[in-house]
Chain length 446, copies 2
Amino acid sequence: MSLKSLRTHYAAEVNPAAEDGKSITLAGWVHEIRDLGGICFVVLRDRTGRAQITLVKKKTEPELLEIAKRQVRESVITVTGIVKAEPKAPNGYEIIPTSIALVNESTSPLPMDTTGKVDAELDTRLDNRFIDLRRAEGTAVFLIRSQVLKSIREFFYENKFMETATPKIVAAATEGGTDLFPIQYFDREAFLNQSPQLFKQMLMSSGFDRVFEIGPIFRAEEHDTRKHLNEATSIDVEMSFADHEDVMELLEKLIARVYEDVLKNCEKSLEILGVDLKVPKLPFYKYAYEEVLSIINNEIPEIETKMKFGDDIGTQAEHLFGEYVFQKTGESHYFITAWPTKTKPFYAMPNAVRPEISNSFDMMHRTMELSSGAQRAHLYDILCSQIQAKGLNVDSFEFYLKPFLFGMPPHSGFGVGCERLVMTMLGLDNVREAVLFPRDRKRLSP
Amino acid sequence: MSLKSLRTHYAAEVNPAAEDGKSITLAGWVHEIRDLGGICFVVLRDRTGRAQITLVKKKTEPELLEIAKRQVRESVITVTGIVKAEPKAPNGYEIIPTSIALVNESTSPLPMDTTGKVDAELDTRLDNRFIDLRRAEGTAVFLIRSQVLKSIREFFYENKFMETATPKIVAAATEGGTDLFPIQYFDREAFLNQSPQLFKQMLMSSGFDRVFEIGPIFRAEEHDTRKHLNEATSIDVEMSFADHEDVMELLEKLIARVYEDVLKNCEKSLEILGVDLKVPKLPFYKYAYEEVLSIINNEIPEIETKMKFGDDIGTQAEHLFGEYVFQKTGESHYFITAWPTKTKPFYAMPNAVRPEISNSFDMMHRTMELSSGAQRAHLYDILCSQIQAKGLNVDSFEFYLKPFLFGMPPHSGFGVGCERLVMTMLGLDNVREAVLFPRDRKRLSP
């Protein structure tokens, strides 16, 4: 017997009008039991939502009533019964059961509350992630994350991108030797890759033309903030015969598309999370780095130390500038362009007219950076001198540099942090809320 | 000026009839130059194919002819010119150029031939992967791989699966302590995950119900064969309220769907590879393990040592049995079911009637195993005793076992090796052909 018979419908899939009077079978968790004397309610929960099982004492077989009352919260059950439209019940119907069967019993007490009535600390929640994710809000975040990735891929396929996968185990660091996790690779030392950067660029030399990769990246940064992870999901893109302006246009369209799709397809999850999503307006506003400096120095008095060319824009300035843009434009997303060449990685293309600035950009959300990108240096000599200028050894990049000698087209690209995209979209307090099983300085389990 | 002006069309996108007489711009690599005296052909190559640029000496500006002749193979160029339908040329047209511009020059000699006229050893090709992938066959494999993954995801979305991502850095081994790559994770030892197995099962307890994950897995096996990789892409699936029969049905439908989509959407790539794809017939044939043993022992004389219950089916037997099935049925794909419990991991569900066999399966291709799956042990006590029976320590699986105490539904799942799927589909000799930058015992670069 196939286990499919344990369920004919998900809770939210039942159409109260069309299915009124029909027999259906639901499977899920005992969310709640309310015994009001003359009537007993069992609330069953599945991924889609809840269903109310109603047992009126006088009309129910005593044995069935006994089974219902015996259930403990969070046990897995399967219930067969007749659908009855009931506007006051969840999803607009109740079930008058003909059978209730225990599938797998839960132990008591639970390690954590699942009703959302008791607030738990994030650490407690992550320690018990399997049960934390049963909260409607937990499921909602990951249904939306799944939709985000689906939209991103559809967007790229429509724009003729190929999906690629590049190695996570590498011999050399993408951007120099810091912040790497070392691995014992048989008898050699290797590292976990920080980014597909070098590989996606090599594929431009192969003529793959437009590639995207969505996969894990690993950074051994000792940060302990609400927006950093040591293992994250990166959305990486590279495109030939395109400059930074071209990929900025691609990126802003991508973001708008993802917002539109989530708005269209995740109505219920957004409602559970209380998120009122607004699709960003195109094109995004662009501020050159030097313009940002001038605004910060002249119009944002909270920043006391004047900034000068070459300074990084720190967290406080980033926040205040994001607020400034939002107040001026009503938009949360914008670009900071034309960063000083020395603040960007060696693979960014210096501007032809003013080589001290680069053809680079960051795509910002009001509250944090979401993406970083650039036209890449595709000329061998420029690239070598930029590697040296960063104090890195050209020899250790031989595998990467060789393709630049044999027909490398001009190309540009960017990377977007998937978790930050979901975090800012949903207004989550902590990036860990956007990862099933986060990895940070202190957390390696579950 | 946007670099988009370097190209208006891909080579294979030009419609010779509709665009005859129009001016277009192509960008790509100099595939070949043939100077026949009175006429000179430059063959330009991009991801989609080739285009012939025709320069008739008497009708061409001497300067333009000079530029054309000066090009070296594999340089990147952009060509603007008039389309002229020409049935004998690649893609049915030629370009009469009005301008040819060098974008980035290639060095000579090339580290490897790109025309496919000279056969190179696999090692040489992988050492120069960036240029190896320029061969039409190289690009074709990865265009198909991209389509395979696109189809797989579409299939899962249509079947109400959520996409998930689970950690690659883990504290404990999935199936015990062997074959793991150790990582230095700050001040602790950690490992690269061998499989999302334990995490996807935990998500069943969270009520995620149907999940899939496509991502890297890492195995420190010392194999050096044509079908093993140390870093591979795994397609992992888990489904609640489903048994092994249910997920076998899902899996065979998935495989058929992928074949259908590739056949429909990758016609040109299949032609380049000379692959005559046949969609597998549903349902796949199923052979119980004991039936396989009996056939091997009685009908396949090449295997001299008689096999007995509990023996693993080795490579030779696997091949000969695959051949046997193919001869009998004409099909390359089939299932071996009901494996001895002791040959399968601890998380496989023992059969209720005969606990010495498990509710497990392998999905086979004529030439090798493609997938392994099972109904999972969802009852805490059975799971603990199976962990102990494998000589493993229950305590080190605490994070995994806890969810089984608090409402774990029955569930089943499988994993498919993406590279083997592509390899068997395209009849590739070596699994490394299906990976951009393979990682094996000896290879860590590029």
